[in-house]
C-alpha cells in the first residue's frame, strides 16, 4: 500500500483545562490516500471541523500525530507548514471568505500573492482558474456583486489556482440552495475524478456525502463508522438480497 498523503494516528485534541476542559477529539486514526474523495460527517460539535483543521495543518493535536506523506507534521518548521498550506492545499469555506472590496481576480490570486508570484504570472493563472469555472467574464467584478453560487465557484477557483493536491471543503454547499449546491458538488467531484485532486469534505449533508468514495462518521470525538462506496454497495446488495 502506498504512503497515505494524510494520516491521523490516535489523535486527541482538547481545549481549555481543568473543569472547563473539553475533548473535541478522543483518539482518531485515519489514513487518506492520494486521489480519494472523503466525506467527514457528523453533527455540529462532533469534532469533524477540528479533525479537518488538524489534517489541514492549521492546528496541532494535543496527543497523537498528523502525518503528511509519512512525515510527522510536528517535526516540520512553520515555514514548511506555511508553504504546504499555500501550495499543496486548497480551501473552500462555507462562508466563502471573499474580500468584499477586491475584484474577483484579486480574490482568486490571493494564494499566489502570498506565495510571492509576480503580478503578470498571477493574473494569467488566475484567469485560467476562472476559465475552468466559466467565470472569466466576472474577473473585474467586485466579489460582493456575485450570487451565492458564483461566489462559491470563485472560492473553488481560489482553491485551485495553486494547483493543489488536496482540497479541504468545509460545508461547501451549506449556504447554497439545492440546485446551486448540486452544481458546486459536481465541480468538486469532477476535479477529484479528472485531476486526481484528493477531496476532503466536512459536511452534515448526507446527499453530498453519498457522492464521495468514502464516508467517515464522527460522533463525540470518535470515528463511529468508516465506509467505502464498495462496502456500501455490498451492504446495499445484501439488504436487497
Amino acid at each position: 500500500m502506498p504512503v497515505p498523503i494524510l494520516a491521523a494516528c490516535d489523535v486527541h485534541k482538547s481545549y481549555g483545562r481543568g473543569a472547563t476542559r473539553f475533548d473535541a477529539l478522543r483518539g482518531v486514526s485515519l489514513e487518506i490516500a492520494q486521489g480519494e474523495s472523503v466525506a467527514i460527517i457528523g453533527k455540529s460539535g462532533s469534532g469533524k471541523s477540528t479533525l479537518m483543521h488538524l489534517l489541514a495543518l492549521l492546528d496541532k493535536p494535543t496527543e497523537g500525530a498528523v502525518e503528511l506523506s509519512g512525515h510527522d507534521a510536528a517535526g516540520l518548521s512553520s515555514a514548511v507548514l506555511n508553504r504546504t498550506r499555500n501550495s499543496t492545499f486548497g480551501f473552500v469555506f462555507q462562508q466563502f471568505f471573499l474580500n468584499p472590496g477586491s475584484s474577483v481576480l484579486d480574490n482568486v490570486t490571493l494564494p499566489l500573492r502570498i506565495a510571492g508570484v509576480p503580478r503578470a504570472e498571477r493574473n494569467r493563472r488566475g484567469m485560467a482558474a476562472l476559465a475552468q469555472l466559466e467565470l472569466e467574464s466576472k474577473a473585474k467584478n467586485r466579489a460582493t456583486d456575485l450570487s451565492g453560487g458564483q461566489k462559491q465557484r470563485v472560492v473553488i477557483a481560489r482553491a485551485l489556482v495553486n494547483d493543489p493536491s488536496v482540497i479541504f471543503a468545509d460545508e461547501p454547499t451549506g449556504n447554497l440552495d439545492t440546485a446551486t449546491g448540486a452544481v458546486v458538488e459536481d465541480i468538486l467531484l469532477e476535479l477529484n475524478r479528472t485531476r486526481g485532486i484528493t477531496l476532503i469534505v466536512v459536511t452534515h449533508d448526507e446527499d453530498l456525502a453519498n457522492r464521495c468514495d468514502r464516508r467517515v462518521y464522527i460522533r463525540d470525538g470518535l470515528i463511529v463508522d468508516d465506509l467505502t462506496s464498495s462496502a456500501i454497495a455490498a451492504a446495499n446488495a445484501e439488504v436487497a438480497a
Partner: protein, 430 residues
C-alpha cells in the same frame, strides 16, 4: 510575499476606510506642520546670520577684551589703584571691562599668531550735518578693518585711505537733503563732537557710501581709520595721556588661512595672559545659540503633538486589525507567515505617517513662504535679506523620516496583534 505586494496591500488598506485614515492623517499633519514651521524659522534666521557673517568678511579679525576677573563679580569693593586708568568715556553700564593700555597692546602684538593689533576707538558724536542744513543726532558705529558693509550706493570705505571717509545710513539720505542715495556720494558732511574739556568741535568727512542696516551695523555713521582717529583725537582733547591711550577693546588680526583649531589655540594663548578673544562669527554665534534654544522649545511642542498623533495611529490600526480579523485568518490559513502580516500592517502605519508628514510639510512650506514674504515687506523691512522662515530639504527629509519612524513604532502594537492571530479563531470570528 513580495515587498511590492506588501506595500500595495498596505496602501489599498489605508484607502479602504477613507474617513478614518483622513482623521488620523489630520492629527499627524498638525504635528508635522508645526515642526516644519518651527524648524523653518530656525533655518531662516540662522541662514541670515551665516550669510551676514560671510558678507561681513573680517574672518581674520578677533576682538580682544580683558578678562573680567571673577572677584569683580562679587559685591566686595576693589582697592583703588592710582595707576589703573579708567576706561575712556563711553561706559557700557553695569560691569565694565578693564581698559587695555598702550603697553598692553604691545604685549598682545607679541602673542604668537597675532599679525597686528589695533585699538578700538570709541567715539561719541553729537550730530551730523550736510552743508548748512539741519543737524541730526548721529551715532558713530564701530568698524573692524576688513569688514564689508551692505551698501545701497557708493563703495566700501577705504580703510587705510588718508582722507576722512564715512558711510551714512540709508535713513539719513533724505533728512540730510540729498535727492537720492547716489547724490550723497562724494559730498562732504560735518560731524560735531564735544571734547573731554567741554569744547565743541567739528570734523569733516567725505561720504563714500550709503549703508543698509544689518547685523554688521550700517545703522549708524561708519568711519574709516583716518576719520576714527580724527574723531577720537578731537574727543580726547583735555584727557590725561593714560586715559587717552587706553581702550575698551582691541582688534587683532591673524592668518586668514588659520583653521578653527588654530583660532581656538590663539584664543587659549590670549586667555593665558588675561584676554578674551572673539571673532565676528563668535559674536553672532550668541544670536544663533539663542535662536536655536527657542526653536528647540518650539520643536518640543510639535513633538508632543506628534506623540498624540502616534496614539491616533495605534487606535486606527487596532480598529483595522479588528475589522479584518477574518481576512487575516484566511491569509494565515493560506500560508501567509506572521512576518508578512506584520509587514503589511506596519507598512500601513508608515504610509499613514508618510501621508501626514508630507501633507503637513507641504502646507508648512506654502504657509511659511507666504508669511515670510508678507513679513519681509512689512515688519522686517529694516532687515533686508532676512527670510524669517526658510526651508532646508535635509531638515524636511529628517522631519518626514522621523514621523514615519514614530508611525512605525505606533504600528508595531497592532501589527504584532495581527501577526499573532490564530487562523482558526479568526475564521470562526463573526
Amino acid at each position: 510575499m513580495r515587498a511590492v505586494d506588501v506595500v500595495g496591500d498596505a496602501i489599498d488598506n489605508t484607502l479602504r476606510s477613507k474617513a478614518r485614515t483622513a482623521l488620523t492623517v489630520v492629527a499627524i499633519v498638525i504635528g508635522s506642520f508645526t515642526l516644519t514651521l518651527t524648524s523653518g524659522v530656525g533655518t531662516g534666521i540662522n541662514a541670515y546670520i551665516n550669510k551676514t557673517v560671510a558678507s561681513i568678511g573680517a574672518r581674520d579679525v578677533m576682538t580682544v577684551t580683558k578678562t573680567v576677573p571673577a572677584a569683580q563679580d562679587s559685591e566686595a569693593p576693589i582697592a583703588y589703584d592710582p595707576n589703573a586708568p579708567t576706561s575712556s568715556g563711553d561706559s557700557m553700564g553695569g560691569e565694565e571691562a578693564k581698559p587695555i593700555t598702550a603697553a598692553e597692546l604691545k604685549d598682545l602684538a607679541r602673542v604668537p599668531g597675532v599679525l597686528s593689533v589695533e585699538p578700538t576707538l570709541t567715539v561719541r558724536a553729537d550730530y551730523v550735518q550736510q552743508a548748512a542744513g539741519t543737524k541730526y543726532q548721529a551715532e558713530v558705529g564701530g568698524f573692524v578693518a576688513g569688514m564689508s558693509l551692505d551698501l545701497a550706493a557708493g563703495q566700501q570705505l577705504g580703510w587705510n585711505a588718508s582722507q576722512n571717509q564715512v558711510t551714512i545710513p540709508v535713513t539719513y539720505v533724505q533728512p540730510l537733503g540729498y535727492a537720492s542715495n547716489a547724490a550723497a556720494i562724494g559730498t562732504t558732511v560735518t560731524i560735531g563732537i564735544t571734547a573731554a574739556n567741554g569744547n565743541a568741535t567739528t570734523v569733516t568727512a567725505t561720504v563714500v557710501g550709503v549703508s543698509v542696516a544689518g547685523f554688521s551695523g550700517g545703522g549708524s555713521l561708519t568711519p574709516n581709520a583716518a576719520l576714527s582717529r580724527a574723531l577720537y583725537d578731537a574727543q580726547s582733547v583735555g584727557l590725561k595721556e593714560a586715559a587717552r591711550t587706553s581702550y575698551p577693546s582691541a582688534a587683532i588680526r591673524f592668518d586668514p588661512a588659520a583653521t578653527a583649531a588654530e583660532v581656538t589655540a590663539l584664543k587659549a594663548r590670549l586667555a593665558a595672559i588675561g584676554y578674551d578673544g572673539a571673532t565676528v562669527s563668535d559674536q553672532l554665534g550668541i544670536y544663533r545659540t539663542a535662536i536655536d534654544a527657542v526653536v528647540l522649545i518650539l520643536n518640543g511642542f510639535a513633538a508632543i503633538a506628534l506623540l498624540a498623533a502616534g496614539f491616533g495611529i495605534v487606535n486606527t490600526l487596532l480598529m483595522s486589525v479588528q475589522e479584518r480579523t477574518r481576512e487575516i485568518g484566511l491569509m494565515k490559513a493560506m500560508g501567509m507567515p506572521g512576518g508578512s502580516v506584520f509587514g503589511v500592517f506596519s507598512t500601513e502605519a508608515v504610509f499613514i505617517g508618510l501621508l501626514g508628514s508630507a501633507i503637513g510639510a507641504g502646507l508648512a512650506i506654502v504657509a511659511g513662504s507666504l508669511t515670510s514674504g508678507l513679513l519681509a515687506g512689512s515688519l522686517l523691512t529694516d532687515l533686508p535679506g532676512l527670510q524669517i522662515i526658510a526651508f532646508d530639504p535635509v531638515a524636511i527629509g529628517i522631519i518626514v523620516g522621523t514621523v514615519m519612524a514614530i508611525a512605525f513604532l505606533a504600528g508595531t502594537i497592532p501589527a504584532v496583534r495581527a501577526a499573532r492571530q490564530d487562523p482558526i479563531d479568526a475564521l470562526r470570528y463573526e
